[in-house]
């Protein structure tokens, strides 16, 4: 469904990703783990078009056979991709409800807005209680819920999540991972960046380890969880 093929990406003279390839098949949960500064966020930003692969020969990104790496972000998301960015990035001065409405702007989601909104409220009842409040007044966990809800409002085929559990207490991490699993069961393909590997790897069909801008390991999630390198570096065992 999504193929990232040997992309080279950087900021100005600084190159961050060195020939990274990642594939996600329809219906999968695929996770990417890696230490701080490895380039995980850079990977997500490149997929959604906020960053471009280095020209020329910076690699290519395709989604359902269509090339993404030359499209503008607003065109990429219209293909059916939604993102929960690092740090949630909800619109702070807009109400919770308006944030969710913003999620449903893409044509594929517009007609189903009322129905999707009911589904999102069923998934996160807290958001319904806070519907009229400005998003800046939400707690960190509620903001993450809002960012996930906003992404779901787009009725995406592929959901990208960049550390949705960042800064959350362990019980909330578990809850948000459980939510992601349920979202996937409803048929939404997931690419997940997540540091809490003992929650994320078991539910991942496949996973990649990204270090210093290169993929150093890949395999089924449960298998990677048993890998000695992963256990030492990411579980501290």
């Amino acid at each position: 469904m999504l193929e990232v093929e040997a992309i080279h990406v950087g900021y100005g003279p600084l190159q961050v990703l060195w020939g990274v390839s990642v594939g996600v098949k329809e219906g999968e949960v695929v996770s990417v783990i890696g230490p701080n500064g490895a380039g995980k966020t850079t990977l997500i930003k490149t997929i959604v078009g906020l960053l471009r692969p280095r020209a020329p020969d910076g690699g290519r990104i395709t989604f359902r056979g269509r090339r993404l790496d030359r499209l503008a972000p607003e065109e990429i998301v219209r293909q059916g991709i939604a993102v929960v960015p690092e740090g949630a990035r909800v619109f702070p001065e807009m109400s919770v409800l308006d944030n969710l409405r913003m999620g449903a702007l893409v044509p594929r989601a517009r007609g189903r807005r009322a129905q999707t909104l009911a589904e999102v409220f069923a998934l996160f009842p807290r958001l319904e209680e806070r519907a009229g409040q400005p998003a800046r007044t939400l707690s960190g966990g509620e903001r993450q819920m809002l960012a996930v809800g906003r992404a779901l409002m787009a009725c995406p085929a592929l959901l990208l999540l960049d550390e949705p559990s960042l800064g959350l207490q362990p019980t909330l991490v578990k809850a948000i991972m459980e939510t992601i699993r349920r979202i996937n069961e409803r048929g939404i393909t997931v690419l997940l960046i997540e540091q809490n590997v003992h929650f994320s790897l078991p539910m991942s069909h496949r996973a990649y380890v990204l270090e210093h801008g290169r993929i150093v390991l890949e395999g089924p999630g449960a298998e990677l969880l048993r890998d000695p390198h992963v256990r030492v570096s990411y579980l501290g065992i």
Partner: protein, 292 residues
């Protein structure tokens, strides 16, 4: 009693003028709040709106009230194109760049207007605008009352559009985080163009309202740039409802000065208020300084 009436009349004159100032300033606030552009050609949009109304009335006998939608549409188109073709190229550049570019635009507009229309002062003579409403000892000229009501209604309408419509949500979202807005499927360049269009359109209509009761001339823009800038700083940069309080504050301060100090100091009053605010309340009277 006479003194009290004179005071009341002064406050009333200030309020009436202040409503029009709010209308003339709201576009500047909107454009700055959303796109981070300080539009140095702002007053020239007032001038173009004023001339639109003047010429439509003078040459084609169009009722001044009916010229308002025309002014709106023409200036919207001009604003949209200026942003889309020129200012979108300055996105991400320092404030100074857009300031210089819009200053260049203002020079082109003023000099074109001088060339085409000459430097003459022109005043519309609209029969039904010569009348006044009398409230006790107070005199309310119909032309100013009309301009006041329409000006404030327009500010309210813009606020409503921003808060309650899908386009408004797109504009606010882009103002707060344009990258995230683009990930919602919004084309920020389109939003910036529409925003400049709306800002120019409301400013043009404010110019049309000004033409109801003041003479029109190509150089009138600069004072309106300064007035609008003062109003926006008074109300809080980018905070839309703030222009109402900013407009009233400037209008009343000018009227007071005119009555009790000396006429012809309106520019000085604007500068003085600007100085006071920047010195003591940089976020504006209401303490808010961003688009919400």
């Amino acid at each position: 009693m006479d003194q009290l009436a004179a005071f009341g009349q002064t406050v009333l004159n200030g309020l009436l003028q202040g409503g029009v100032y709010a209308a003339a300033a709201v576009g500047l606030s909107l454009i700055f709040g959303v796109s981070g552009i300080l539009n140095a050609a702002h007053g020239e949009l007032v001038m173009l709106g004023a001339f639109t109304t003047y010429w439509l009335f003078k040459l084609h006998g169009v009722d001044p009230l009916l010229t308002l939608p025309i002014s709106f549409v023409l200036l919207f188109g001009l604003g949209y194109l200026l942003q889309f073709l020129v200012l979108n190229r300055t996105l991400g550049a320092p404030l100074l760049v857009s300031l210089l570019v819009t200053f260049g635009m203002s020079l082109v507009m003023v000099n074109t207007a001088l060339r085409v229309w000459s430097a003459d002062y022109r005043m519309m003579a609209v029969p039904y605008f010569d009348r006044s409403v009398y409230v006790g000892p107070l005199i309310v000229p119909l032309s100013r009352l009309t301009a006041f009501v329409i000006g404030l209604a327009m500010v309210g309408g813009l606020y409503w559009l921003l808060q309650r419509t899908e386009l408004g949500r797109m504009i606010r979202a882009t103002a707060q985080d344009w990258e995230m807005a683009s990930l919602m499927g919004v084309n920020p360049r389109f939003v910036y163009a529409v925003t400049f269009g709306l800002g120019a359109a409301t400013t043009g209509v404010a110019g049309s309202l000004v033409a109801f009761y003041t003479p029109v001339e190509p150089n009138m823009g600069l004072t309106y740039t300064l007035f609008a800038f003062s109003v926006v700083v008074l109300g809080g940069m980018g905070y839309i409802p703030g222009v109402v309080w900013g407009g009233f504050a400037l209008g009343i301060a000018q009227a007071m000065t005119e009555t009790y100090v000396e006429a012809g100091l309106s520019l000085l009053v604007a500068f003085f208020l600007l100085y006071l605010i920047l010195r003591f309340m940089p976020a504006g009277i209401m303490g808010k300084g961003r688009v919400e």
